[in-house]
């Protein structure tokens, strides 16, 4: 009983220390997580009991952005998108696809910010604004590339499918190597 009381007191103290800036970042992360799951999951599942799990997942990610749950949420979103378009016959709509890609990246970059930002930090507004501005640049470039890929890809893929697959795997490997090389010393 005493341990519970101590935990309650500790929780109150922690709650009293929350600062506005980090709370705003976590709120944005929560909204991005909800948007990601909302766009990724099949529309028929969104109206049922399944919604509670999705909201709970987004809340947990917003509360604990340092763990592996962010990766899990992003992968669930990716496979949820595949499930909705393959198993539930949802149509691949451009706005939904691009919106999902943007929301997934926002989850990733806001989780990166929230994980290094203490919950009680004194945060000037320029820090978050600059962070979101850089994310916006990335999203604009990515949206352009994504739309181009969706429009142009069906024209070149077909007879050369096997070749494209092998080349794609090679590109994946090369990309992973390039990305990880950047941090090796």
């Amino acid at each position: 009983m005493r341990a519970i009381r101590d935990r309650v007191r500790l929780g109150r103290q922690l709650a009293g220390r929350w600062a506005v800036g980090p709370l705003a970042v976590r709120t944005l992360l929560l909204l991005a997580g909800l948007t990601t799951l909302g766009l990724a999951m099949p529309s028929r599942l969104l109206l049922g009991r399944f919604t509670v799990f999705l909201v709970a997942g987004a809340v947990v990610v917003a509360m604990a952005p340092r763990g592996r749950l962010v990766s899990v949420l992003l992968l669930i979103a990716g496979f949820g998108w595949m499930a909705s378009t393959i198993l539930f016959d949802d149509r691949v709509v451009m706005w939904r696809l691009v919106g999902l890609a943007m929301a997934m990246y926002l989850v990733h970059t806001l989780a990166a910010l929230a994980s290094v930002l203490p919950y009680d930090a004194v945060l000037p507004p320029g820090v978050v604004a600059g962070w979101l501005l850089r994310a916006a640049v990335t999203l604009v470039v990515s949206a352009g590339l994504g739309i181009f890929a969706m429009v142009e890809a069906p024209l070149v893929v077909g007879p050369v499918y096997l070749l494209a697959s092998v080349g794609g795997v090679a590109v994946v490997g090369a990309l992973a190597w390039v990305l990880t090389r950047g941090v090796r010393r």
């Binding site: 592996r68 004194v122 590339l145 794609g168 990880t180 941090v183």
Partner: protein, 456 residues
């Protein structure tokens, strides 16, 4: 200086442990965060799924991760910033404003997206944002200053820091090792309690000074008019009296003399809970502030003031006068701390104090050794005044059934000790600020002027 064989000396061979030590000695560096691993993982999994299933839309989902990571890592820093805590002036009185800043200087070509600054601080330093961490950005080849504003609410030396900084770059994909800046020491001078005393001084020492003596001599204080005698200076002739009496008369004056005041601080124990400049005073607070006030008063009058502590080891400021001595005493007072109950040999040697000095002992009389010390000083012929720094509002200890009775017994015993000291010729007065010693000083002066019944 060549080698023994005259050839090229062999190159040192490092194993991996040596290289790790060298890397550690090279200082902090950058390392990848979980976000970088996440970006690579999600991107690769989506691309692999796209290749295996032939779905172009999965490539679209993977593109932001690839593009974002590439753009972020293109802005990869190579050097870690330098951190320092600085203040315009780290010296100020109690309750004064702290104006310091944490400076994070980056010489890198890329901007640091975020620096998180955490600093430890002493209990008596109250910053505007408390002990919260601070976040900021650092532009390329620039210095970010994070202002630290607040108050220092109690005298003493207080540490601001050490400061630990983590720098974040490449949109959270890279984070630096902990950058540590040493603490900045703030010197907080005690606020001087108002104090003023009568001119009476039991035994003046030098030939010049502020205090009038009882001996005639060259001074400014008028003693009377007397007939001219051999050795009198012509400028001392009082022409008005001389014309009236038709005989030369001179104005006689009393000589001006200085005195030495020895302030003895009983720092064996502290009692009460200090609330800083805005709250209640502990015994040590009263002692230090009163000592500063008394020292300032006598130094302003041109006297020599020395200061001693009866702790272990005994600390002392030699007698001196002037502004420099006052600053030395303030610095000395900042280091005052209770010595503890186990300071077994903490009885002051009376030989350390000049025989002519007026000894003002600031003591809470909580320890029998304090009363022994006062008695020893009185026996050695010093003019001793005990100032009781144990305030009436100091809370009683204990909360049990018998606590009140025990406290009453303890107070009775203490009052008994004070009465015994008075019987032995040691006046004990409670500290009450301005003018609290006047009456006692007059008594001591009268006692000093009285003829002695027997030699000491």
């Amino acid at each position: 200086m060549g080698t023994a064989g005259g050839g090229i000396p062999p190159l040192p061979v490092f194993d991996t442990a040596d290289l790790a030590d060298l890397a550690e000695a090279a200082g902090p560096a950058w390392s990848a965060t979980k976000a970088l691993g996440r970006a690579v993982l999600v991107c690769c999994v989506l691309l692999l799924a796209a290749v295996l299933t032939g779905r172009y839309d999965l490539v679209v989902l993977a593109v932001p991760f690839a593009v974002g990571t590439a753009i972020s890592l293109a802005r990869r820093p190579e050097e870690v910033p330098v951190v320092e805590v600085a203040a315009i002036d780290p010296r100020f009185p109690e309750g004064g404003q702290v104006t310091a800043a944490v400076c994070v200087a980056s010489s890198d070509r890329v901007r640091l997206d975020l620096v998180v600054v955490r600093l430890m601080m002493a209990r008596w330093v109250r910053l505007r944002f408390g002990d919260r961490p601070y976040a900021a950005t650092v532009a390329r080849r620039a210095t970010a200053e994070i202002p630290l504003r607040g108050r220092a609410v109690r005298w003493g030396r207080h540490a601001l820091g050490p400061t630990v900084v983590h720098a974040v770059a490449s949109d959270g994909l890279l984070i630096s090792d902990a950058l540590v800046a040493p603490e900045l020491w703030l010197k907080v001078y005690p606020v001087i309690e108002p104090f003023a005393a009568d001119e009476a001084m039991p035994r003046a020492a030098g030939l010049v000074g502020f205090h009038r003596s009882r001996k005639p001599g060259e001074g400014g204080e008028l003693a009377g008019v007397r007939p001219f005698g051999p050795g009198d200076r012509l400028r001392r002739i009082d022409w008005r009296v001389s014309l009236r009496s038709r005989q030369l008369h001179v104005v006689s004056t009393l000589s001006d003399r200085d005195a030495e005041v020895a302030l003895l601080l009983d720092v064996l124990h502290d009692a009460g809970r200090s609330g800083g400049i805005d709250g209640a005073c502990s015994v040590l607070d009263t002692t230090v502030r009163a000592a500063a006030g008394i020292a300032e008063h006598y130094l302003q009058r041109g006297d020599r003031v020395s200061m001693l502590g009866n702790g272990v080891p005994a600390r002392r400021v030699r007698a001196g006068s002037g502004r420099r001595q006052y600053l030395t005493i303030l610095e000395w007072l900042m280091e005052v701390a209770p010595t503890g109950a186990d300071a077994s040999g903490a009885v002051l040697n009376p030989q350390l104090i000049s025989p002519n000095a007026l000894v003002i002992v600031l003591t809470p009389l909580l320890d029998p050794r304090s009363a022994q010390m006062l008695a020893a000083l009185a026996r050695s012929g010093r003019f001793v005044v005990a100032v009781d720094t144990f305030g009436a509002e100091t809370p009683a200890r204990g909360s049990g059934k018998w606590a009140e009775a025990a406290n009453q017994f303890w107070r009775l015993e203490r009052a008994n000790v004070i009465d015994q000291l008075r019987e032995h010729g040691v006046p004990v007065v409670a500290w009450a600020g301005s003018g609290s010693l006047d009456r006692v000083l007059q008594d001591v002066t009268r006692m000093a002027a009285a003829p002695k019944a027997a030699g000491r």
